[in-house]
Structure formats: C-alpha cells, structure tokens
C-alpha cells in the first residue's frame, strides 16, 4: 500500500477545496451542538433549545455529544478563540433566525470534519488490509482498490464535505469494527497456530467494543446490532468440542460474560454522566430526542426505499381513482378508506424491518456454527465466515434502509461502504457494487439542490464511477477485454441521465415558473432509485446466500 499517502493527500486537498461550497442546515445543527457542549452544564445538553429559538437540538446519543464536547473544549479551539482567529460567536448559542456563521467559523467546522475523516481512513485501511490478507491472489491490488474506493466515495464527500455531517468518522468506526471481526475469524485460516486463535478472540472483543462505541454515537446503526449479537454469540461464545465422532458446540459462559461486559461498558460509558445526574428524567429525555416518531414515515425527500414505492403507489391509486373510476365505485372505495393507502404505524414498520433482518440472522447463526466446526475438523473452507459477515452487514443495512421508519438518504452509505470491501472479490459482487452506488449515490443528489452545486455533484459522481469501473475492471478482468457494464446497466445509465436532465434542467426551466408539479423531480428520483435499489437489495441477499452455498459445497 505504497500509494496510500498520495491518495490521502489528494482526497484531503479536494475536501479542502470544497470548503467554500454550500452547507445545509445540518451545519447549524452541529454548530449549535458545539455551542451546547461548550457553554452548558451536562444536565442541560438534552434539554436546551435556546428558549425555543432553535430546532437544532441535540438528538444523537451521548457518545456523539461527547465528541462534540471534545471539538468545542480542547486546547486548539480555545487557543483559536483566544487569538481571535475564530470569533467567539461561532461557538455561542444562537437562535435560528440569527445564526449566519462567519467565514472563519465555516472553515473551522469544515476542518473538524476533514480531521475526523482520519477515522474513515483508518477504518478503510484496517478493513481493506484485514480482508486483503485473507486473499491469496492479487490481494494487494484488491485491498488497495477497496481502500481507494472507500476514501474517495463521492457519497461521503457530498454528505460530509458539502452537505455537512460526520458520516465519515462513524463509518470509519464501523469499518474498524468489521476489520476486527474479519481478523477474529480464524476459522478459515487453519494454518494459524493456537496462539493466534487466542488473539482472534481478542479481535472479536475489539470488534464488539468498536461497534458498541459506534452505537453510542449514532443510533442509526442499531439495525446492525441483531446481526452482531447473533454472530458473536455463536462465533465467539461457543466452543467446538469433539465428542466421539460428532462435533458439538459448547456454550462458554465466561466468554459470554466477557463479551457482554465489554460491550456494555463501551455502549453505556457515555451515558454514565447523564445517569448520575437524574437518571429517569435524563433517560426519558434522551430517548425522546433519539426516537422522534412524530416525524412521519418518510423523510422530506423520500429516501429511495420501499416506503417511497408504497407512497408512490398510493399516489397513483388516488390519481386513478380520481380520474378513471366511475363515481358509483368511488363511494364504495372511500367507505373502506383504502385509497390513499393507510399510513403504516411505527410498530408495523418495526415489524417489517425485523422480518427483513431475519434471513441474515439465521444465516449468520448457521455460518458461525459451520465456521466453528470446520475450525476443529481442520477442513479448508472456501469462503470464510468473514466474507459472509461483510455480506450480512450489507444486507442488514440494506434492509434497514429499505424498510426503516423515517429513513434518511444517507443511510444507504452504511450498505455501500462495507460492500466496497467485497466488491473486489468477484465479478458479481463488483456488478452489484457498481449498481448500488449508481442508484444509492444518485439518490443523494436532491440533498444538494442549488444550481451552484449541479456541476460539482455531477462530476464528483461521474469521475468516481468511471474510476471505480476502471479499477474493478482492470482488477477482475486482467487482460481480457471485457466490461462490467451489461446491457441492463446501459439502460439504467440512460434512465438515470434522463432523470438527471429532467430534474436539473427541464423541470426548473419549464415547470417551476408555472408553479406546477413541484415535487415531481424529487418523486421521480426517489421512485427510480427505489426500484433500482430494491433490485440491488434482492441481489445482495442472493450474494449472501451464495456465500453460504460455496461454504457448504466445500464441506
């Protein structure tokens, strides 16, 4: 990985170049959180809303609050304020109607994002090398490529460095945790000694700790918790034992306790100071902030998931009802209140989500048992539990994105980033990756809605897609003159470019002046992307299953 440093410098330079670009209200959100953690006592953090003056209240778990505390209360920040480089107003509690930041303030906050991206670099490096070490052939190139594709992902650049968020850091933590789990799967590397098997247990504990930390910073990743729980419970807490001819798995209570303690310490650590204050009130308030169910089924922009399709179907049905169905039937339909479709309650959504996660969980249990057994029988296993785990993470985050309640577009990055690690292994995975990125990142376009960002987002996306195509093709096809793009992909590209032209050029010029169909471009984008992503979701599930199939075949 000789070219790591130039890549990092290059991508950082591009991020710095993006400093003067547009930022969304999330910028004010995070600025406000800096102010809250800098000026208010701990007990006030989850209560303050500048006397009702701001909607940018703290609604991330305490881990993230501590991160903001670190940003606003450190020697460098204090020094910057002392020197007068950074105006004190940047870190003041300000009401929404008077919060225009100074240029220096923007630079300061952008820099915090750029610096916190070091976590992403670290995670990407660890995960890609951890996975690359397992592969025998062309491992170096493969891990280098997945590192490159993770750190240059335009979705993350658009979200973090234009829109303004800290996803890079969070996903970096997730990648660290995945890297540890990969290292922890000693099963596929039978040549490892007993000693390394012990350390593989430690790796898994580290992975659990990282994930718990991540969870305490952002509750979005809660949807991955069941997978981690099932996988680690089976893979970490059970010990394979040979009894006569059969292999049985014995539950090890000490290991379970160890795992549980470490996870809980990491997860609950950030909560402790709040619990010490006035536990019940604080906890109630935190939970209220974290899970605001009043916000509705879908986000403003309609993240491209199944609920977007559901709502779209509902819209179509009401349109059909209004214009085509004869009035006599219309009354009957209205009496059942089916059209427009009823909005599902949070409980039903949660149930759907849980059902969506179940296949991955069952597979995880099975794969983990297989891995333990093969570890003992010293049989060589084709695909490892680690590969499966990454696929399972992808499928779980995909399910969370497709079925979750009030999902934000950015949630798709949780699927895309881990998928990058396995994209370099096979042509099918690479195709799945390219398609997911195509739809997923295209679905982020509405976040940057101003014409000033039109060219930036288009060319970021284009450059990176071409780079990914070139990189994957030259890695997977070697000397063959072949391409990853199939005819279906060509159709998709055509459709997406039509949507893009419609959304960015035709609609603002033709429809906007007449005030007609204001939501049409957003709806088109999310419906097209939802259809595409739905296919990718299914395909990712198939890939996960294939992973097990290869495994059983070797057994």
């Amino acid at each position: 990985m000789k070219s790591v440093l130039p890549i990092l410098l290059l991508i950082t330079a591009i991020k710095i170049l993006l400093i003067p670009s547009y930022y969304s209200t999330d910028f004010h959100v995070h600025r406000n959180w800096l102010a809250i953690t800098r000026h208010l006592p701990l007990s006030q953090w989850y209560f303050d809303d500048v006397d009702g003056g701001t909607v940018h209240t703290l609604d991330y778990p305490p881990g993230f609050a501590w991160f903001e505390y670190l940003l606003s209360n450190n020697a460098i920040t204090n020094r910057l304020v002392e020197w007068g480089w950074l105006d004190g107003r940047c870190l003041e509690l300000l009401p929404d109607d008077d919060n225009t930041p100074s240029d220096r303030c923007v630079v300061f906050q952008r820099c915090t994002v750029i610096i916190s991206d070091a976590m992403l670099f670290l995670g990407a490096y660890l995960a890609s090398t951890a996975y690359g070490d397992r592969l025998t052939s062309s491992a170096k190139e493969a891990s280098e490529l997945s590192f490159l594709l993770i750190v240059t992902n335009p979705g993350l650049i658009m979200l973090d460095h234009i829109h303004f968020q800290y996803n890079g850091m969070l996903l970096g933590l997730l990648l660290c945790s995945i890297a540890c789990i990969i290292r922890g799967d000693a099963g596929s590397n039978t040549q490892r000694s007993k000693k390394s098997a012990i350390s593989s247990q430690t790796w898994e504990l580290c992975g659990a700790a990282f994930f718990a930390l991540l969870l305490s910073m952002k509750h979005l990743y809660m949807t991955l918790a069941p997978l981690y729980l099932v996988y680690l419970l089976r893979h970490h807490c059970f010990i394979a034992q040979k009894e006569k001819s059969s292999v049985t798995l014995q539950f090890s209570f000490t290991k379970f306790v160890f795992l549980g303690v470490i996870t809980l310490v990491c997860f609950l650590g950030p909560f402790v100071p709040f619990l010490l204050q006035d536990s019940s009130v604080q906890m109630e308030q935190i939970l209220k902030r974290l899970f605001p169910f009043g916000r509705g089924l879908v986000h403003d922009y309609w993240a491209a998931n199944t609920w977007a399709l559901y709502l779209f179907g509902s819209k179509i049905a009401s349109f059909v009802k209004k214009s085509f169905v004869p009035s006599s039937f219309r009354n009957i339909l209205e009496s059942y209140a089916l059209i427009p479709f009823p909005e599902p309650s949070p409980h039903i959504v949660a149930l759907c989500l849980f059902l969506g996660l179940i296949p991955a969980l069952i597979c995880a249990w099975k794969v983990a048992s297989n891995a333990l057994e093969s570890q003992l029988s010293n049989s060589t296993v084709g695909t490892s539990a680690a590969t499966f785990f990454i696929h399972a993470v992808v499928v779980s985050s995909f399910s969370a994105f497709m079925l979750g309640y009030h999902v934000h577009e950015k949630a798709i990055m949780t699927a895309i980033v881990p998928l990058t690690i396995v994209a370099t292994t096979s042509i099918e995975n690479a195709r799945l990756y390219i398609r997911t990125c195509m739809f997923g990142i295209f679905g982020l376009f509405p976040l940057l809605f101003q014409p000033e960002e039109l060219l930036i987002k288009a060319f970021l996306f284009l450059t990176w897609m071409l780079l990914a195509l070139y990189g994957l093709e030259s890695l997977l096809f070697k000397d063959r003159k072949d391409t990853l793009l199939t005819n279906i992909d060509m159709v998709t590209i055509t459709v997406l470019s039509c949507v893009f032209i419609f959304m960015e050029i035709i609609h603002p010029v033709v429809f906007m002046p007449r005030g007609k169909l204001e939501f049409l471009p957003l709806m088109t984008t999310s419906v097209v992307c939802a259809i595409g992503l739905f296919c990718c979701w299914v395909q990712s599930g198939v890939q996960m299953m294939n992973c097990i199939k290869i495994k059983t075949k070797y057994d």
């Binding site: 070219s3 130039p6 890549i7 410098l9 290059l10 950082t12 330079a13 591009i14 710095i16 170049l17 993006l18 400093i19 003067p20 670009s21 014409p451 000033e452 060219l455 930036i456 060319f459 970021l460 284009l462 450059t463 071409l466 780079l467 195509l469 070139y470 093709e473 030259s474 096809f477 003159k481 072949d482 391409t483 793009l485 603002p508 010029v509 906007m512 002046p513």
Partner: protein
C-alpha cells in the same frame, strides 16, 4: 491506438477529474470579489472603488456588457478609465458572444440575474452567485473546447515508450499532469481569465504546423510527399491565438523561426533523382521557398485582416463616414500596447524587476528612454539562440530525406521527424517565452503561463524538471494569489499536482532527467527549501516597517533566479536535441567528430532527457519469424536486393579504416600551399570495395546468400541474445528481438564474419550489460570490432571518470537498464571516439616516426658534414 472499453473509462476519468478540479477551484473567490484588493489594502480598496471595482473578473464581465450593448466602433473607445477593452479583437468577439448568450439566457426562469450581469452601465460591480457561476462556466467551456482538446490531441504524439503498455501509461501520465497544471488552473478558474483559449489555440497551431503530411488525409498513403497544409493551418491558428491575447507574442519568434525553416526544407524526394540537374533544382527550390513563404505570409495577413476588418469599416458616429479609415485600427493598437505604463507591473520575477532592487536600482541609473531599448535588445539576444535552433529544426535534414528509399522508410522517417519536430518546437516556444518573460518590458506575473503551457506537454522528456518548473511557476504567482484570497486553493492545487506526479509514475525505479545531474540536484533542493522558507517567513514574520515590500521583492528575486535557470535548461536541451539529431542522421561527417568531442558532461544531460522508461522492459511476444524457419522457402524475401544494398553500406569504423589506408601525407598532391594532412580526406561514401572489408574475397560471395548470417544467427540464439522462435514455449524473461528485426536494423551484420560478431557479443556479455535491451534499441552495436569496443571503454573511462574504468562500466551498466538509448549513445560515443583517437594517435605516431627519421637524417647529415669538415680541417692542420 485502439482504446478498449477499460482504457476509455480511464481516459474519461481523467477528463472528468480535470473538469472537476476546475469546478472546485471555481467555487473559490475570483479576483476582486467583494472588491477585496488584498490583505493590506482594505482601506485602499474602498478608496479605489470610486474609479474601478474589482479585478480581472470585473474587466471580463464589463467587456461582455460593453461589446453586447455597444456598436462595434465604440468598443475600444468606451469609458476607457473603467476597465477599457485592451485585448485584441478575438477576445472582443468572444466577449460579445458570451454577452449575447447571457442576455438570451436571462429570459429563462431562474436565470434572470444573467440579464443584470450584462446590463449596460448598471451592472458595474455586479456580483451574484449565479452570475459568477455563469462566468466560470464560460471559462470552463472554452477551456474544454480549446485547451483540453489540444492537450488531448497532442499527447499521443509525445510518447516515448516502445510497448503499448508503457505508451498507455505514459499517455495517462502526460494527460493527467498537463491537465492539472496548478498555475493555469489558478489563473483561469480561480483568478478569472481566458488564458487557456489563447494557449490552447497556440498548442493547436503547434500541432498542425509540425505535421509533414496533410492532416486531413490520414488514410491516404503519404506517397504524395510532404505537403504544406499543416504549416498554413498552423499559422492561421496561431494568428487566432495572437488575436485573442497579445501576450502570445512571446511564442511568435519561435513559431516564425520554425515556419521559416519549414519554408527552406527539402521539398521533394523526386528531386534527388535529378541529381545531375543540380542547377535547375536549386532554382526550383528557391522558387519553392518563395512560394511557401508567400503563402504563409498571405495566410497570416489575411487572417489578421478578417479579424480587424470590422474595426476599419465601421466608422464612429460623429466622424465623417468614409469607406475605409484607419482610426479604428490604430485605436485598437494603442489599447493593446500601452508603452507608457513602465518597465514592469508590480513585482514580477523578471530581470528588470530584480535589477531595480536597491544595490542595482537600474531604474534610477539608466534614463527612462533607454530602458525599453535595453529590454528589447536583451530579449532579442536571448531569443536568438532558440530561434536559430528552431530554424534548423524546421529546415529538417536534407540528407536523411534523400536517403529514405522505400515508402515505408519514408513514412517511418516522417513520423519520427514529426515527433522530434513537435518536441523541439515546444522546447523552443518555452525558451523564447521564458526569454520574453525575463527580459522584455511590460511583463505581468501571469506571463509565466505562456512558457508553462508548452512545457507542461513535455513532461515525459524531463519529468522532474517540468514538475519542478510547474511548482516554481505557481509559486511566483503567490503574491497575486493572496490578493485573490486563493491561498487554500493554491495549496490544494500544488498538493494535488504533486500527488498526481507521484501516483502516475511510469516506472517505479524513478525517472532520470536534467535533475539527475549533481549541480541541478542541489538547485532543486535549495530552491524547494527557499520556496518553503519564504512561505513560512511570510506567514510568521512581519516585514520590517521600512521595508514593507520585503516579501514581494524576495519573491521576485528568487523567482527570477529560478526562471533564469529554467531558461538555460531549455536552451541546453535544444542544443542537445540538435546535436542528437545530427549524430543520429549521418555518420562520418565532420560534424560527428565535433560533437563526439563535445564536453562529456553535456552527454550526461542528454542522457537524462531521454526517457527512463526503456528500463521497463515488458515481456511481449514478438511476432516475427526467424530466418531459420524461413530459410528454405523465403530466403529471397529476406535477403532482398534492397537489404543487400543496405548491407553493403560501410560501417563507421570501416570508412575510417579505408581512410587510414590512404597515405596520410598525400604526396601525389604537390601543391605547396595546402598540406594534405589538414584537409579532410575524401571518404568513399558509395559502395564498399570488397578489398576493404574484413572478410576475405571468397567469403564476400558467401554472405550474399546468407550463409554467414545463418551461422551467426545460430550462435547468437544459443547465447540467448536472439529470440528463438522455433521454441516459443519457454518465454524468456526479457524481451528479445527476432533475427529479422535485427538484420533489418543492422543489415551489415549479415556481411560480417561470425567470429567477429560473436567476439563483440562476448564482450557485452562479459561486461554484464543488459544486452537484450541494448540490442533491442540498436542492434548495430554488434557490428563493432571487439578490440574497438575494449578501447572504446577505455576511452570513455578516460574522458568521463578520469580513468576509473569500473566506474564507467558501472555507469553504462546502470544506464543500460534505466535508459538503453542513453547507454547506447554514450557507448557509441566512446567507441567512435576511441576509433578516432586511435586514428589520430596512429597518425601522430607515423608523423613522429617520419619526423624522427627526418631528424635522424638531418643529424646524420650534419654529423657527416662536420666530420668531413673536421677531416678537412685536420687535413689542413696536418697540411699546416
């Protein structure tokens, strides 16, 4: 080059990345945004705002506004105090076009601001995010259409690699780096100007004017000999470039010299067949020169005329309407060349600015009127040398042109000449524009872009030098950059450029070029340290009160030094490029001897300019047939009469021996005025006499049917030097050439005796040179005699490393891996020099022997006389 889908993806990635980079810089402030005039000038800015708002951005915007709304006759008169139009007509037309587009788009919903952007007079100082976006967009479009496309088109012509894989890598490197030039990006997309249009037009013109065949009839076989369409098209494009920005004049002398040379080049191959009609040919050639020159002149004048014509025919209202009047044209000229402005603007890194610093203070010592004269004189002096070289380049090599016999050879020769021409033209343009930048008056900081554009295309020739120069050029723009608040963009661009430089490296072992030379190495290190230190000092240290301009002055002083050094390097390269061409073209002329005695250190530089990529030998299956396979069936096809004719051509050492065989003191020439020793002996250039060859009489008969060569080939294959194609299963690690390629390139091998060839091959193997790659580049090295080779090594070590032979060997060994071409030219030089030296020493020995004999005779004579005299005396005594 056929692009596979994958390569196309990579090319598109580069293109898309180049555009992205431009867009990203575009979101940074432009010159004079919010009327900001630099950190120290906040108050001054508000003071000047009453007269002029903003900077170059406002000027360009203002020109759109005024050209769109005013009649053409008013363009160069309208309110000159507020950013009056002072660029040539093409800029004005382009401004009009964009003004028109802006006004048209203004009627579209959401873009109403564009109408305000170009509203007459009301728009002064108009600033708006969307307006800025439109302006940036115009630059981007022009850049894409003119500059990026030009780079894209020229890049494939500048590659040096031997295999497709390396060529592809080189192409990627060149495109990436040339399209990420920080200085150009910052000036056009940050500061806001349309430099890329004029630079791109100039590059396009270079592209066309170095074409020997008609650029529009690619498919036709080039038997129709050389046409002059390329230069004419090139001159039209160059006139356009000049008419976009008058600063393109910096390139003009180089272009003029080259095109003049092209006028004088040998026009027709057919003319050689009429050698006997020498007189008529000469007059024909003269006529040709005149026609060519006139056609060029007419093209340039007419393209200027078309662009300037409107200013002559549209009268200003108020003046009496005549059909044609020059007032409009002279007004344009007055606006373009404001001589009253002074020697230089601001603090520029050129000689005059450096000389006006305290100890010299040239402006106080020399009267104001003489300064422009001095400046022009010095500029003229500096551009003379590159122009002379370019004239030679344009003229081409008559001898070579004549000797090319077959169509294929001619094609090859033509394409290699086209490549050499465009490279040298780019070097030449760089050095003339550097000369202008250094020595002419009225130079602006942005003038550094003009040498940078052609130089950035030469990246593969001297990667480190050119990367270094790009950074230096950007660095000299720093004072301007701070005024525009582009500091972070500046840092990012430089970092991105360096990262790309590092990431796209063709061979991992590193590239050698001018900076491999030790003194230059110090210069690069020192200059980098100086540049970084100055940045740090400016950031941390406040300038003393009595020297407020300390840092800009330091900037211009250091910049001047570094740019002068770069100028010298370009001259050096051109000079070496010239000699290389001569060395390559013909042998045994007096020129060769002269160049072979050129300072050895110069050869070291030449070495570094040659691409290092040759060390990167990729195993690739050669698709030729060995002769042994074809021996029985198509022997005649290989040993064509043409081949035999070529094989008969004498080798260098053979001609020298022939020459030596002649009596040195040609006693038959009894002219007392000329001593034959000093006269150049007439070398038999024609067919070699059988008696002169090493082979005996009877073997001469044998070599023509290939017997000798068959034996030689067999031996060479067994030594692992030649490709064994009968046994293709075990591929060798390095690429070998087939015997057919070998004899095609060194036909004399089929004539030389097997033992001799094997002896020289053994020499190479003994010395552990990377023989395969050497032979791949030039198989003729095997034609030298082994003892000549040994002596050549000794000679080389004497000349270069003061007699340390192991060091010399080591050097050639390294070079043969890194850059076989260099090793070859070094080696050739040593061997040929050795031969020459031995000849001279032999001649001297003969001469001294002769003179010794003469002295002996004289002494004997004298002794005899003395004895006789003594005897006589004694006789007398005895008598007495």
């Amino acid at each position: 080059m056929t692009d596979t889908g994958r390569q196309r993806h990579l090319h598109l990635t580069i293109l898309s990345f180049a555009i992205l980079l431009r867009i990203l810089i575009g979101i940074h402030p432009h010159s004079g945004q919010d009327d900001y005039q630099g950190p120290g000038a906040i108050k001054a800015g508000t003071a000047t705002s009453s007269t002029k708002y903003g900077g170059d951005y406002e000027a360009q915007r203002h020109w759109m506004e005024l050209t769109y709304h005013l009649p053409l006759s008013e363009w160069y008169y309208y309110d000159l105090s507020y950013w009056g139009l002072d660029y040539p007509p093409l800029t004005a037309y382009v401004s009009w076009f964009f003004g028109y587009i802006a006004d048209t788009l203004g009627s579209v919903h959401g873009l109403e601001v564009l109408k305000d952007l170009v509203a007459l007079h009301d728009s002064r100082g108009f600033e708006n995010e969307r307006g800025k976006m439109y302006m940036r967009f115009t630059v981007l479009v022009m850049d894409l259409l003119v500059y990026i496309s030009a780079v894209w088109e020229i890049a494939p012509r500048l590659l040096n690699g031997t295999t497709d894989i390396i060529r592809e890598k080189e192409r990627i490197r060149l495109l990436t780096m040339a399209l990420a030039q920080p200085a150009i990006l910052l000036m056009d997309h940050g500061h806001f100007q349309y430099n890329t249009v004029s630079l791109g037009l100039a590059l396009w013109s270079f592209h066309f004017m170095t074409m020997l065949s008609n650029p529009f009839k690619k498919d036709e076989s080039s038997t129709s000999s050389l046409t002059f369409v390329g230069p004419i098209l090139g001159s039209v494009l160059f006139s356009l470039a000049l008419n976009f920005k008058q600063m393109e004049l910096y390139h003009a002398p180089a272009v003029f010299a080259y095109l003049l040379g092209r006028c004088f080049e040998c026009s027709n191959v057919q003319s050689t067949t009429k050698d006997n009609e020498g007189g008529t040919m000469a007059s024909m050639n003269n006529r040709n020169v005149i026609t060519k020159f006139c056609s060029l002149g007419i093209t340039v004048i007419s393209s200027f005329a078309i662009l300037w014509f409107p200013f002559a025919i549209y009268p200003r209202s108020g003046t009496n309407a005549r059909l044609f009047h020059l007032a409009g044209v002279t007004q344009v000229l007055k606006r373009l060349f404001p001589f009253q402005r002074g020697l230089f603007e601001g603090k520029v890194a050129n000689i005059w600015c450096a000389l006006s610093v305290k100890p010299f203070s040239i402006r106080r010592r020399v009267p104001e009127e003489i300064l422009p004269l001095m400046a022009s004189g010095l500029t003229l002096m500096l551009i003379l040398l590159p122009c002379w070289y370019l004239f030679q380049v344009g003229k081409g090599d008559r001898g070579q042109c004549d000797t090319a016999k077959t169509i294929r050879e001619k094609d090859q020769h033509q394409s290699s000449r086209e490549r050499a021409d465009i490279k040298l033209l780019l070097w030449g343009c760089t050095s003339t524009s550097l000369a202008f930048f250094l020595a002419s008056f009225q130079v602006h900081e942005k003038g550094i872009l003009i040498p940078l554009a052609p130089l950035s295309l030469l990246l593969l020739e001297a990667p480190r030098f050119i990367a270094w120069f790009s950074i230096v050029a950007t660095w000299t723009l720093w004072p301007l950059v701070t005024i525009d608040r582009l500091g972070s963009a500046y840092a990012c661009c430089v970092v991105i450029f360096l990262c790309l430089h590092n990431m796209t490296r063709v061979s991992p072992s590193g590239e050698s070029d001018v900076f491999s030379m030790i003194p230059s190495k110090y210069i690069i290190h020192l200059s980098v340290v100086a540049m970084v230190l100055l940045h740090a000092a400016e950031l941390l240290v406040a300038p003393p009160r009595n020297l407020p301009d300390l840092f800009p002055v330091l900037w211009s002083l250091v910049g001047c030094g570094l740019i002068s050094f770069s100028y010298l390097v370009t001259i050096w390269v051109m000079a070496k490029g010239q000699t290389k061409k001569i060395v390559g073209s013909s042998s045994s002329s007096s020129k060769t001897k002269r160049t072979s005695k050129a300072p050895m250190i110069g050869i070291g530089i030449l070495a570094t300019i040659l691409p290092a990529s040759h060390g990167f030998v990729v195993s690739q299956k050669a698709q030729c047939y060995t002769m042994s396979q074809l021996q029985s069936s198509n022997m005649n096809e290989i040993f064509t009469s043409e081949m035999i004719e070529r094989a008969r051509e004498p080798l260098y050492w053979e001609t020298q021996r022939t020459e030596d065989a002649k009596p040195i003191l040609d006693l038959s020439k009894r002219d007392p005025d000329t001593l034959s020793l000093s006269e150049k002996a007439v070398v038999n250039q024609g067919k070699l006499q059988e008696t002169n060859t090493v082979d005996s009489e009877d073997s001469c008969v044998k070599w023509e049917d290939g017997q000798i060569w068959l034996e030689t080939e067999r031996r060479l294959i067994s030594m692992g030097v030649l490709l064994n194609e009968t046994d293709a299963s075990n591929q060798p690690m390095v690429e070998l050439i087939s015997s057919q390629t070998m004899i095609a390139r060194a036909p004399q091998l089929i004539r030389l005796s097997t033992s001799q060839v094997i002896e020289s091959t053994n020499f190479f193997l003994d010395q552990r040179f990377a023989l395969a790659s050497l032979i791949q580049h030039d198989p003729t090295i095997l034609t030298f005699c082994a003892d000549d080779l040994y002596y050549g090594m000794e000679y080389l070590s004497n000349m270069m490393t003061r007699g340390n032979e192991t060091q010399a060997l080591q050097m050639i060994r390294t070079q043969s891996v890194l850059s076989p071409q260099m090793a070859l030219s070094l080696f050739r030089m040593g061997v040929e020099g050795g031969i020459d030296e031995r000849r001279v020493s032999n001649a001297l020995a003969n001469a001294s022997a002769a003179s010794g004999k003469a002295v002996e005779y004289a002494v004997n004579d004298a002794g005899r006389t003395y004895r006789e005299f003594k005897q006589l005396k004694g006789g007398r005594k005895s008598l007495g």
